[in-house]
C-alpha cells in the first residue's frame, strides 16, 4: 500500500520534470504546451493519490508505516487522525507538494487565454519548485518509510497539538507559503521573457492577496493557540519558528502596496521584483527553519538532512533571480518620477521601507545567535525584549503612516488641503489623549500609542464619510445605501480600508496586553482567596477524574469582580497515558476589557495549591481584529464582475 504512495510520487517527479522542460522548449508549439499542461495536471493527480494513500494509512492505523506510528494511536479521534497528515515533518512536506500541485493546476487553467509565453515560463518555474519538493519527499523525507515490524500502537499525537487551532494552523501557513510560488514564478517569467509591463502584475495580484491572507490568518491562529494552549500567558514569543512565518508576511505586505504604485504610476518596477523574490525566498526559508535545528529555539527540532537541500535551493533561487533581475534592470526603468515628499507615493515608499526594515530586523534577531556563535565562538541568545524594543517603534510608525496615507492624495498634495483633511481626525485624537489623562493613564507609551491608533481610526472613518457623502449627493441615495454601493464597486480599496482597521484593532490589543499586563502568584488552601486588581479569586477545591486517554486534575475558583460573583474558573492539568509530560490547561475569562487568565501550577498532598493569575487587558481585540482582517481580505479578493481596469480615482 505504501509503495503505491511512493510510486505515485516518483511518477509525479517524472511528470513535473517533463512539464518544466517542455513548457520552456515547446513554448511556441501549441501541441507541446498542451502536453505540458496535461503533465502538470497529472502531477496534481499523482500527488493527490499519494496523499490519499497516506490518509488511508492514517485512518486504518497502518502502524507499519513509520509516519503513522509516530503521530497517531488507536485512541485518536477522526479529526486528529486526518490532521496528523501535517502534524509531522514528512507529512507536511507532502501537503506542501500537494498544495503546490493544486495551485499550479488552478493557475494554469485560469490563465488559459492570457499571455501564452508568460504563462508557459511561469508554469515551468512552478514545476521546478514542485520537482524540488518531490525530490525531498522521495529521498530524505519519505512519508511512506516503513518499519521492519508492526508496532501494537502508535506513539500518538502530542497532546499540545490536540486542539482545533492545530487543525487549521499548519495548513493555512503552508497554503500561504505555497501561494507565493505563483507570483514568484510569474515575476521570473516576466524577467525571462522580457514582458516587463504590468501584465505579470495583473496576473498575480489576487494570488498574492490570497497567499498573504492565508499566511496572516495562519499566524494569528498560531498566536491564539499559543495563548490558549501553551499557557504561559502570552501569544507571541518571538520564537524563530514564529518569526519564520512573520517575515514573509511583512515583505508580502510591502509588495501588495508597491504593486499599486507600479500599476498606477509605473514606478518601483525593480523594487517590486526584489520584493517578490525576497517574499518567496523567505517563505522557503520559513519552511526550512521549521525543520532544521540550526537555530536554538524553544521548539528544538533536531538537525535533519533537509538543511543542505533547502539551503542549496534558496541559494540557487536567490542568486538566479537576482542575476536575472540585474540582467534586465535597464528595461525596468520607472515611467514616472517621485515628485513630492508629501504625497501618497512617499507614504507608500516609507511604508515599504518600514515593512522591509521590520522584516530585516526580525531576521537579524533570529539568525544573529547562529552567526555570533560561528564568528565569536560564544553563544548568545536574543529574546523577546530585543524584538519588542526594536520592532515596536517601527510598527507604531507604520500604523501612523496608515492614517497619513489615507488622507494624502496621489502626486503632489496641496498642504492646505492636507491640513484641512487632518484637522478632524487629529482633533479627535487629541481629545482621546485628554480622556486618557483624565482616566489616570500616565505611561508615555500608552499616551502615544493609543491616540495614534485612534487617529488612524478617525482618518479612515472620516474618509468613508467624505466619500459616502459625495456619492450620496450624486445619486440621492441614503447614506447606508451609498456606503454599501461604494464598498461593492470599490472592493479592493474598501477591503483594504477594512484590513487597515483590523490591523489597528490588533495593535490596540497588543499594546494593551503588552504594557498593562498584571501578574500574581499565590499559594492557597481551599477556602482561601487572592486578589488581583479588581478580581478576587476564592479557591473552592480540587477534583480528579479519568477520561478516555488521560487523567485530569481540576481546581475550581470562584471569581469576584469588584466584589460581585461573576463565575467560576477551572484550570486543569492533564496527564496523558501515552505522553510523559503533564499538560496544563489554563482557564480564561474573557471580556472586551480584559482577560482573567489562571494557570494551575502545582499542589501538595494537603491540597495547598499554587496558582498564577494574569490580567491581560484588551486581548480579545486581537482576535476580533483577526476576524475583521479576514472580512477585509475577502472583500478585497472578491472578483469584480467587470475586468479590473482603472482603480477608481481619489
Amino acid at each position: 500500500m505504501a509503495n503505491i504512495g511512493y510510486i505515485a510520487l516518483l511518477l509525479a517527479l517524472v511528470a513535473s520534470m517533463y512539464a518544466a522542460i517542455v513548457f520552456v522548449l515547446g513554448r511556441r508549439h501549441p501541441a507541446l504546451i498542451h502536453s505540458a499542461r496535461n503533465s502538470l495536471l497529472a502531477v496534481c493527480g499523482l500527488v493527490s493519490i499519494s496523499v490519499a494513500v497516506l490518509l488511508y494509512a492514517l485512518l486504518t492505523h497502518n502502524f507499519q508505516i513509520e509516519y503513522v506510528a509516530s503521530h497517531t494511536s488507536h485512541d485518536l479521534s477522526l479529526a486528529y487522525l486526518l490532521s496528523a497528515l501535517w502534524a509531522g515533518n514528512d507529512g507536511s512536506l507532502l501537503v506542501w507538494a500537494w498544495l503546490l500541485s493544486i495551485f499550479a493546476a488552478v493557475a494554469v487553467f485560469r490563465k488559459r487565454d492570457i499571455g501564452g509565453e508568460l504563462v508557459s515560463y511561469a508554469s515551468s518555474i512552478v514545476m521546478v519548485t514542485q520537482a524540488f519538493f518531490l525530490i525531498l519527499l522521495l529521498s530524505v523525507s519519505n512519508p511512506f518509510q516503513q518499519l521492519s515490524f508492526v508496532p501494537a500502537d502508535g506513539r500518538g499525537l502530542n497532546p499540545l497539538l490536540e486542539n482545533p487551532a492545530m487543525i487549521l494552523h499548519p495548513p493555512l501557513l503552508l497554503a500561504g507559503y505555497v501561494g507565493f510560488t505563483i507570483p514568484f514564478a510569474f515575476a521570473i517569467a516576466a524577467l525571462l521573457t522580457g514582458k516587463l509591463s504590468n501584465e505579470w502584475l495583473i496576473a498575480i495580484r489576487r494570488w498574492t492577496l490570497l497567499a498573504w491572507l492565508l499566511l496572516g490568518v495562519g499566524n494569528l491562529i498560531g498566536a491564539w493557540w499559543a495563548y490558549v494552549v501553551l499557557g504561559w500567558g502570552g501569544y507571541w514569543g518571538w520564537d524563530p519558528i514564529e518569526n519564520a512565518g512573520l517575515m514573509p508576511w511583512l515583505v508580502a505586505t510591502a509588495f501588495l502596496h508597491s504593486i499599486m504604485m507600479q500599476r498606477r504610476r509605473g514606478m518601483l518596477k525593480i523594487w517590486n521584483m526584489l520584493l517578490i523574490i525576497l517574499t518567496f525566498n523567505l517563505a522557503i526559508f520559513g519552511t526550512f527553519l521549521t525543520r532544521s535545528g540550526i537555530l536554538s529555539s524553544v521548539h528544538t527540532f533536531s538537525e535533519s538532512a533537509l538543511g543542505p537541500f533547502f539551503l542549496a535551493f534558496i541559494g540557487a533561487t536567490l542568486f538566479g533571480s537576482l542575476g536575472l533581475l540585474y540582467y534586465r534592470s535597464k528595461e525596468l526603468k520607472g515611467e514616472a518620477e517621485m515628485e513630492s515628499l508629501v504625497s501618497r507615493e512617499s507614504t507608500f515608499l516609507l511604508n515599504n521601507l518600514l515593512l522591509v526594515g521590520a522584516a530585516f530586523v526580525i531576521f537579524l534577531g533570529t539568525v544573529f545567535p547562529a552567526i555570533f556563535e560561528a564568528v565569536r565562538g560564544a553563544r548568545i541568545s536574543v529574546g523577546p525584549p530585543f524584538f519588542n524594543q526594536v520592532s515596536g517603534p517601527i510598527f507604531l510608525a507604520l500604523i501612523l503612516l496608515v492614517g497619513i496615507c489615507t488622507l494624502i492624495g496621489w502626486q503632489r498634495a496641496s498642504i492646505k488641503k492636507l491640513i484641512r483633511n487632518f484637522l478632524w481626525p487629529l482633533g479627535a485624537a487629541l481629545i482621546l489623549v485628554i480622556v486618557l489623562l483624565f482616566l489616570g493613564v500616565r505611561e508615555w507609551h500608552a499616551l502615544i500609542a493609543f491616540p495614534v491608533c485612534g487617529f488612524v481610526f478617525f482618518t479612515i472613518f472620516y474618509k468613508w464619510f467624505q466619500e459616502t457623502r459625495t456619492r450620496q449627493q450624486m445619486r440621492a441615495e441614503n447614506y447606508l445605501k451609498a456606503f454599501w454601493g461604494l464598498v461593492v464597486t470599490n472592493r479592493p480599496r474598501y477591503g483594504g480600508y477594512i484590513v487597515h482597521i483590523a490591523i489597528i484593532l490588533i495593535a490596540i490589543g497588543v499594546i494593551g496586553s503588552s504594557f498593562y499586563e498584571v501578574e500574581k502568584e499565590a499559594v492557597l488552601k481551599p477556602g482561601e482567596s487572592m486578589t488581583v486588581k479588581n478580581y478576587t479569586l476564592t479557591y473552592e477545591g480540587m477534583n480528579h477524574y479519568e477520561a478516555q486517554s488521560k487523567s485530569v486534575v481540576t481546581a475550581t475558583l470562584s471569581i469576584y469582580n469588584y466584589g460581585e460573583l461573576v463565575g467560576k474558573l477551572t484550570p486543569e492539568k492533564h496527564f496523558h497515558w501515552s505522553y510523559e509530560q503533564a499538560v496544563t490547561e489554563v482557564a480564561i475569562r474573557t471580556t472586551l476589557r480584559e482577560d482573567l487568565y489562571v494557570i494551575l501550577i502545582g499542589w501538595d498532598e494537603d491540597n495547598t495549591t499554587a496558582f498564577k493569575v494574569l490580567v491581560n487587558p484588551l486581548v480579545i481585540w486581537i482576535w476580533i481584529g483577526g476576524g475583521v482582517f479576514v472580512l477585509g481580505g475577502l472583500i478585497a479578493f472578491w472578483p469584480d464582475s467587470s475586468v479590473y481596469a482603472h482603480p477608481s480615482g481619489q
Partner: protein
C-alpha cells in the same frame, strides 16, 4: 536632482533610525548563553550579569519548599555542576534528567539565582529516535 536627493536623505534617515534601534536592542537585550562548564570558566567576571545557562537537572538534587514555592536544584553538564534557586511557576516539562535553560545571575556565593526556567519543549517535527 534636488528632489531625488531629498528622497535619498529620507531613506538614509529611516535606515539610520532602524539601525539605531537595532544597536540599542543589542546593547540592552542580548544575553550570553553558556553551558555550566563555560560559566565556571568565566570566573568572577560573570557575577551579577544576566546570563543564560544550559545543563541537565541532576538526579536527587531537586528540593521544593512547599511554602513560597522556592525550587532548588543542581544542573550539570558532565563535568561541572551548578546550584540553582528559582522562585515561580515551574513548567510541566521540568524534571530530573531534563535539559533546562536557566536565566538569571550567578552570585558570588556560588548560587545561581534564576528568574526564568526554560526546559526544552517537546519537538513537533522529530526524526525517528
Amino acid at each position: 536632482m534636488l528632489r531625488k536627493r531629498r528622497f535619498l536623505i529620507g531613506g538614509i534617515t529611516v535606515f539610520l533610525a532602524i539601525g539605531y534601534l537595532v544597536f540599542m536592542g543589542f546593547q540592552d537585550s542580548v544575553t550570553y548563553y553558556y553551558t555550566v562548564s563555560e560559566l565556571m570558566e568565566q570566573g568572577s567576571s560573570i557575577y551579577d550579569e544576566n546570563v543564560r545557562v544550559k545543563g541537565q537537572v541532576a538526579p536527587g538534587s531537586v528540593e521544593q519548599e512547599a511554602t513560597g514555592r522556592i525550587l532548588r536544584f543542581t544542573i550539570i553538564d558532565g563535568e561541572e555542576s551548578l546550584s540553582v534557586t528559582y522562585q515561580g511557576a515551574v513548567p510541566d516539562t521540568f524534571k530530573v534528567g531534563a535539559e533546562v535553560i536557566v536565566e538569571g545571575q550567578f552570585n558570588s556565593n556560588g548560587i545561581f539565582q534564576a528568574h526564568t526556567l526554560m526546559p526544552k519543549c517537546p519537538s513537533r517535527y522529530v526524526p525517528q529516535q
